[in-house]
């Protein structure tokens, strides 16, 4: 079990470093399944699952916006980028998919709107 554990952990950082999208997701998926086999790693397995999901979402976003700026950023940053680009719908989707708490959501939104200087929208919200 110990051996497996260390293997799993090694996999993750290696996985997140790779720049090719598809094998990366596969690796993380694999890590997720390995984590899920043991009981102690409930948190780790959930995170790995979410990580894979995030990468898929980011990939789709990159395809739809034709800009390679999403991959590798965090959930929060993804939301920020979406809002800054004026794509509020995508941001809301990410929010609900990752169950982002309202408090963080409002902070991120205000932050993103302020960075792009969209004061009208900031006032409206």
């Amino acid at each position: 079990l110990l051996l497996k554990e260390s293997r799993e952990l090694e996999r993750n950082p290696v996985a997140s470093k790779g720049s090719i999208h598809v094998p990366q997701v596969r690796l993380i998926d694999q890590a997720y399944r390995l984590f899920a086999e043991t009981k102690e790693h409930l948190f780790e397995s959930k995170s790995a699952e979410e990580h894979a999901k995030l990468l898929r979402v980011q990939h789709n976003l990159e395809v739809s916006t034709k800009q390679a700026i999403f991959l590798g950023s965090s959930v929060s940053d993804t939301i920020k980028t979406c809002i800054a680009m004026g794509n509020e719908r995508a941001a809301v989707k990410v929010k609900s998919e990752f169950k982002v708490p309202d408090k963080r959501w409002y902070w991120l939104k205000a932050c993103a709107l302020a960075t792009v200087g969209n004061w009208d929208a900031l006032e409206a919200f």
């Binding site: 090694e10 993750n12 950082p13 780790e44 790995a48 990580h51 408090k103």
Partner: protein
């Protein structure tokens, strides 16, 4: 002012120590004839700047290069590598040699390990098939004096190696360094150790003494009376707190490296945009010596007073015409300290602009609440931590508070633990998962399982002190953190005063075993006998002399803790001088950073 600190006022003859290191290095350079190219690893280059000026090496006909991944550019036919024995450097050396070979360059290669060769490194060289072409030597640099009372082993990874990777080579390094000190200054008669690494180091030290005994006959009294070894693991609380002293804040905000701090030229009042200026910081600067250990507001007051008094003098000189030459001389002398004053006015101003922000006060207040463990305040702490995660403040800040909370409360309740971990991963990216895992493995952040014994420890050792009158000059080390006496230094205080015995109880609550032993000149072989610990008066035969205590921190020490030790030795009635040796001078951030870096690399 020079970066190399002046050591004349040191309680121990550190000049000799540094002189030896310098001579060793020059001997190495000198032993290779002709012009040569000296290639130094980047970290070591900084360390060496504390020993000698680089111009000296040039006088010896050496070109200087910093080891990097790029091919070596030099016209010299002899190449001397001077690197710390770390596997990744071996790879770089091998690559450079292979590159030369590919170009058809014939060179002589020398490799000096600092401080000594290791099997792992040589194995790599063999695998890379360059071992044969190298002449291998050692440069035994174990200790570097950072200041007249601070020595550093310059092992920044020591803590993480011990706690996470289970690599205890740094412990051996520490023991070896102390053993080398004993050759110069005599066998240290009293040793007190606390923590796994410290007791291990003591054991190693004894073994070394058996194998390679220090000859006691031609030496007088041991110059160091007591050796206190402490693991950083014993007190992780203190480095997680924001330091409030002048030096501590300089380190926290600007990061002191090798006794200098690099700042924007604009801060120092020089009109050069974008340029960086190096400012040396050590006790050779008299004003700095005076204010480094004071809390920032007090330090600012002192600088202010100095500046105004010079102003007054100046006004006096101008107004009165009948000046004797000697009076003028005095005045000019005082003017000499002017550059020091301007330097610190500039630095202090810069610090103050950050340290008087509301966010800074809020953080210090939260830290205080966490240390005092008021249960009804816990939700507020979580809210604060949640806030700064969501605002994506530097992750070090978040982790420091999280670790602090986990330590004083024996962990976090599972629900909150998972929630905050998730928030961290969401805000800073999933790649931080190995980091969280490593912190958990090191016991720095964990799930709450048992009741905390922090309250018990802090009561027994009086760590939380109510400072009634902040204006009064302080009489206890708790001034350092405005009402919190650093645990590590409290332990040292007890250890020199009465040994471990009276504080057995709280000591048992802290991680790692403790050890109290006396090593006699006559009974070296039976030196492992545990001494009862009631050494009320130490070395009465020393007469009026103050005895010297060497305090070794395995895993690093903060400037604030050094300040507390200096405060103790300056206190009346304390017959001790402290000499601090540490694997590295750290702040909470620099303590966590190696853990973060290695977690990223995935070299677990």
């Amino acid at each position: 002012m020079a970066q190399i600190p002046n050591l004349d006022n040191s309680p121990l003859n550190l000049n000799a120590l540094r002189e030896q290191s310098r001579k060793d290095l020059l001997n190495i350079v000198d032993s290779i004839r002709g012009s040569k190219c000296l290639v130094i690893d980047p970290k070591l280059a900084g360390t060496l700047s504390l020993i000698l000026q680089t111009s000296v090496l040039k006088e010896y006909g050496a070109e200087l290069r910093i080891l990097s991944a790029d091919p070596l550019q030099t016209g010299c036919s002899k190449v001397v590598y001077l690197v710390r024995s770390q596997p990744n450097y071996m790879k770089l050396v091998a690559d450079q040699m292979k590159n030369d070979e590919a170009k058809g360059l014939q060179r002589d290669y020398f490799l000096y390990f600092v401080p000594c060769r290791t099997i792992a490194c040589e194995k790599i060289l063999e695998e890379e098939k360059v071992h044969q072409k190298l002449t291998i030597g050692e440069y035994p640099l174990y200790l570097v004096p950072l200041d007249e009372d601070v020595l550093s082993f310059e092992l920044e990874y020591s803590l993480q190696e011990c706690l996470i990777e289970g690599d205890t080579s740094s412990v051996w390094h520490v023991a070896k360094a102390i053993h080398k000190l004993e050759f110069a200054f005599g066998v240290i008669p009293n040793i007190r150790a606390k923590g796994v690494a410290s007791t291990k180091a003591t054991e190693l030290l004894n073994n070394m003494q058996l194998e390679d005994p220090v000859n006691m006959d031609n030496m007088g009294m041991a110059e160091i009376d007591t050796l206190i070894l402490l693991d950083r693991e014993v007190d992780m609380v203190t480095p997680m707190c924001s330091q409030l002293t002048y030096e501590g804040l300089l380190d926290e905000l600007l990061e002191i490296q090798n006794g200098t701090v690099e700042v924007d030229a604009s801060i120092m009042g020089v009109q050069q945009d974008g340029k960086k200026v190096k400012v040396p910081l050590n006790s050779s600067d008299k004003l700095y010596k005076e204010i480094r250990d004071l809390n920032l507001p007090v330090a600012v007051q002192v600088v202010h007073q100095k500046a105004t008094s010079i102003q007054q003098d100046y006004a006096e000189v101008k107004s009165t015409n009948t000046q004797s030459v000697s009076e003028l001389k005095d005045f000019v002398k005082r003017l000499n300290s002017l550059p020091e004053i301007t330097r610190h006015v500039n630095l202090a101003q810069h610090l103050q602009s950050s340290a008087t922000k509301r966010s800074f006060f809020a953080r210090v207040e939260i830290e205080q609440i966490i240390r005092e463990v008021e249960n009804y305040e816990t939700p507020r702490c979580f809210e604060y931590i949640e806030d700064i995660i969501q605002k994506q403040e530097p992750i070090e800040t978040v982790l420091r508070l999280l670790v602090l909370f986990s330590l004083t409360n024996a962990g976090l309740p599972k629900k909150i633990f998972d929630y905050l971990r998730r928030e961290i991963l969401h805000s800073y990216g999933f790649e931080h998962m190995p980091l969280l895992y490593n912190l958990e493995k090191a016991g720095l952040v964990k799930r709450q399982e048992s009741r905390s014994n922090w309250v018990g420890i802090s009561r027994a050792l009086q760590l939380i002190v109510d400072i009634k009158d902040p204006e009064k000059p302080p009489d206890d080390i708790s001034y350092i953190f405005s009402g919190y006496a650093p645990l590590s230094i409290r332990l040292v205080q007890h250890a020199v005063r009465s040994g471990w015995q009276p504080i057995e109880q709280p000591l048992k609550l802290l991680p790692g075993p403790h050890l109290d032993l006396k090593r006699g000149v006559s009974s070296i072989s039976s030196s492992l006998e545990v001494f009862p610990g009631s050494v009320g008066q130490q070395s009465p035969d020393r007469g009026g002399l103050r005895s010297l205590v060497l305090v070794v921190f395995i895993g690093g020490v903060t400037s604030a803790e050094i300040a507390a030790l200096r405060f103790l030795s300056a206190k009346e009635g304390m017959g001790y001088d402290f000499l601090v040796a540490t694997t590295k001078v750290i702040t909470g951030n620099t303590l966590l950073r190696p853990i973060m870096a290695s977690s990223k690399e995935g070299t677990i």
